[in-house]
């Protein structure tokens, strides 16, 4: 057999062995299964939303408890004292210092 004949056989045999090679029939379904399995789960987002809803509910409950207290006279006296007393003290100190 000379080289030309050998090359012809090579071409024929490779053609026979390799022409028409395609992906297996189940290939596309296997890819789809893997894609579905790899999709990001919505569960963390749902749990996150539940967590934030709980925080807002607690803040709302606390505000319902605190707002009536803020309307009572003792609360207003306390708040007024917290503002007025330091103001008087600062005024007295500042006024005294400049008078000297």
């Amino acid at each position: 057999m000379d080289e030309e004949q050998a090359l012809h056989i090579v071409d024929e045999e490779l053609e026979r062995a390799l022409a028409g090679v395609v992906a297996p029939p189940h290939f596309a379904d296997a890819v789809r299964r893997r894609v579905r399995a790899d999709r990001v789960s919505p569960l963390p987002e749902i749990l996150d939303s539940i967590g934030w809803a709980a925080v807002l509910a607690i803040v709302f409950a606390l505000s319902l408890w605190l707002v009536p207290m803020m309307q009572s006279s003792w609360w207003l006296v306390g708040l007024g004292s917290a503002v007025v007393i330091p103001a008087l003290y600062v005024g007295w100190r500042w006024g005294g210092a400049t008078a000297e």
Binding site: E3, V10, R16, V21, R34
Partner: protein
């Protein structure tokens, strides 16, 4: 979803091409199938970010080549570990590529398996892709002249091996 439709279209159009590219680069059908699935998983994740800077086929083949190279590196590192143990090494040899594998393969494919990797890839793709030099060059991202040169050398080596085997 529109993304799903686009992916389905890509899968239908390129599944055979990607499988053949993986087969040419990895040398056996089982690895090719697994790696081609990995390729499409990567495509699915990246498709939303594809802006069309390169042709879709070029983009897909680049992902496929990179995924195959990763698989080849993983295979090489597994073989590296196997060298430490003769038993594991023997097992690794048994599961090595189809092309160098058992007698059920046609002679010509066993001869192809003995070619250097670059020649082997070009030969396998050339005959799987209906003898299109251009398609092989695109899929392997090689210059057309390189594909023709490597193919010529590979065919010559295969022919010489056939002549040598002649009784």
């Amino acid at each position: 979803m529109p993304g799903d439709q686009q992916f389905e279209s890509v899968l239908a159009t390129y599944q055979d091409k990607v499988f053949r590219l993986c087969y040419a680069m990895l040398g056996d059908r089982a690895s090719a199938e697994e790696t081609a699935q990995d390729v499409f998983l990567r495509i699915w994740k990246a498709l939303a970010g594809y802006r069309g800077e390169a042709a879709l086929s070029t983009w897909i083949y680049a992902i496929a080549r990179n995924t195959c190279l990763t698989a080849l590196k993983a295979r090489a590192s597994r073989r590296g570990i196997s060298l430490e143990s003769p038993g594991v090494r023997a097992a690794a040899e048994r599961v090595s590529s189809d092309l160098r594998g058992p007698d059920r393969q046609p002679d010509i494919l066993r001869l192809v398996g003995e070619l250097p990797a670059s020649y082997r890839q070009v030969v396998l793709l050339f005959y799987m892709e209906e003898r299109s030099y251009e398609e092989v060059a695109t899929m392997l991202d090689l210059p057309l002249g390189t594909v023709k040169t490597w193919l010529h050398r590979a065919r010559t080596q295969l022919a010489a091996a056939l002549v040598d085997k002649e009784p």
